[in-house]
């Protein structure tokens, strides 16, 4: 096994309704530490399913996912343990509405005994300061704007000190003027060396931040390359027609 890859995916397949709908139809991918990968593609192409299967929120029917050389699709593996190392940010934020921002962030580290309450709160406050929300620590999610909620969701995931961060269309549910503040946080995270996989429609972000862009369609990776290769010299016809529509 190759120790350089943080994530290695082999032949991943996922189908619904006894194979009638193939969401993933054999996906292979290797992700190195510190790499930023942006996944683009038309809706229903399987990009979200693929991202969600990386921490087994979707259980694949076939194939293997190696996380730090451990096959997490193995039934014997304790998936909860591995999910702690994989942060996830959702399109609809999924903050816990009945808890303050601070409690949202400290719940998992404290309950999973990664830190004492004091340590977790100190770390949470530091992270909130980085994203400019330290004065909202005692607020409830409903009192925040969409952009603020998503920034909290990102730092909530960071509280677990993950090795990789997954972003599932993190800006799709935001008002246009709030997209920038979330992308800024993600850019800073990328600059700090975090390994990231991002499903997004923000082509500007992909161009600027991605080390590699992946174009998915019909449950497979159609084309992958540097942003320069994909956006300026796409080879695949599907990639070309998709980019023509969105750019």
């Amino acid at each position: 096994m190759n120790g350089n890859h943080l994530i290695r995916v082999c032949g991943l397949k996922k189908h619904y309704k006894d194979g009638a709908i193939k969401a993933l139809n054999g996906v292979d991918l290797e992700v190195s530490k510190g790499e930023v990968i942006v996944i683009i593609g038309p809706s229903g192409c399987g990009k979200s399913t693929f991202l969600r299967s990386l921490n087994l929120l979707e259980v694949p029917n076939e194939g293997h996912i190696y996380l730090s050389d451990v096959d997490i699709t193995d039934r014997k593996v304790n998936i909860n343990h591995h999910r702690q190392k994989v942060g996830m940010v959702f399109q609809h934020f999924n903050l816990f509405p009945n808890m303050t921002i601070l409690d949202n962030m400290t719940l998992a580290p404290v309950k999973l005994k990664k830190a004492t309450k004091e340590q977790a709160e100190k770390k949470a406050m530091e992270l909130l300061r980085v994203v400019g929300l330290e004065d909202r620590a005692g607020a409830y999610p409903n009192q925040l704007s969409g952009g603020q909620k998503q920034r909290v969701a990102i730092v909530r995931a960071l509280c677990m000190e993950p090795e990789v961060m997954l972003f599932d269309e993190p800006t799709s549910a935001l008002d246009p003027e709030m997209v920038g503040e979330v992308l800024d946080v993600m850019k800073r995270l990328a600059a700090d060396g975090m390994t990231m996989l991002v499903v997004t429609h923000e082509m500007g972000f992909a161009r600027e931040v991605a080390d590699r862009v992946i174009f998915m369609d019909e449950g497979v990776i159609m084309e992958e390359g540097t942003p320069e290769e994909i956006f300026n010299h796409p080879k695949n016809e599907r990639t070309k027609s998709f980019l023509n529509k969105v750019l």
Binding site: K76, F90, N94, L95, F96, N98, M99, A108, L112, Y140
Partner: protein, 242 residues
Amino acid sequence: MPEWIVKLQKDFITAFVEDNRWKYLVEGIQNTIILTFFALILGVILGVVIAAVRTTYDKQYTEIKNPVGKCFLAVGNWFCKVYLTVIRGTPAMVQILIIFFVIMASSDNKMLCGIIAFGINSGAYVAEIIRGGIMSIDGGQSEAGRSLGLNYVQTMWYIVLPQTFKNILPALANEFIVLLKETAIAGYVGVTDLTRGANIIRGITYQSLFPLLAIAAIYLVMVMFFTWLVELLERRLRKSER
């Protein structure tokens, strides 16, 4: 004084004051409250357990790795479904008669029979209220919890159930009110609840007006008081909603 007022006065005294008959009602209130309270506790315990089995089966069955656990869960789920079907499909009156005259025929503790009968009955409704509440929580909440590394039980306990409780409180209060009023049939198996208290007075005095109006008013006041308590609780729980 008009004659009818004098008659009412006399009837009132016959119904409540003579021979301290008001004590039947006081005893009835006590028994109704005891019966409702313990039946509620039993009902909630049963309801939580059944809702837990049913929800876990629906959400987790495919994820459980241990075949023995899987088997237990499937059997448990089947029992829960049968319980819900039978209890919700038969009248409470019939259930309490069966418990008293068939299942617990050897016991002469009427109150215990009543508590068990009403608890089992209420449990079925509470279970479905809780299950509905759990299902109403956006799936993203438990996904967020699981993605942070919390296991199924932790996610349920810390994230889903607190939100569920707030949502189902009105329905639970409703179920409690129904239960409180339904205990009026406990008299059929000899529990001297509030309604039976009134019936005893009626039997002695041949008067219906005052005893029946009195217990109607007492039930009403009890329900209003309880509704007020629930409103207080709801207001406290809603403080995270701006």
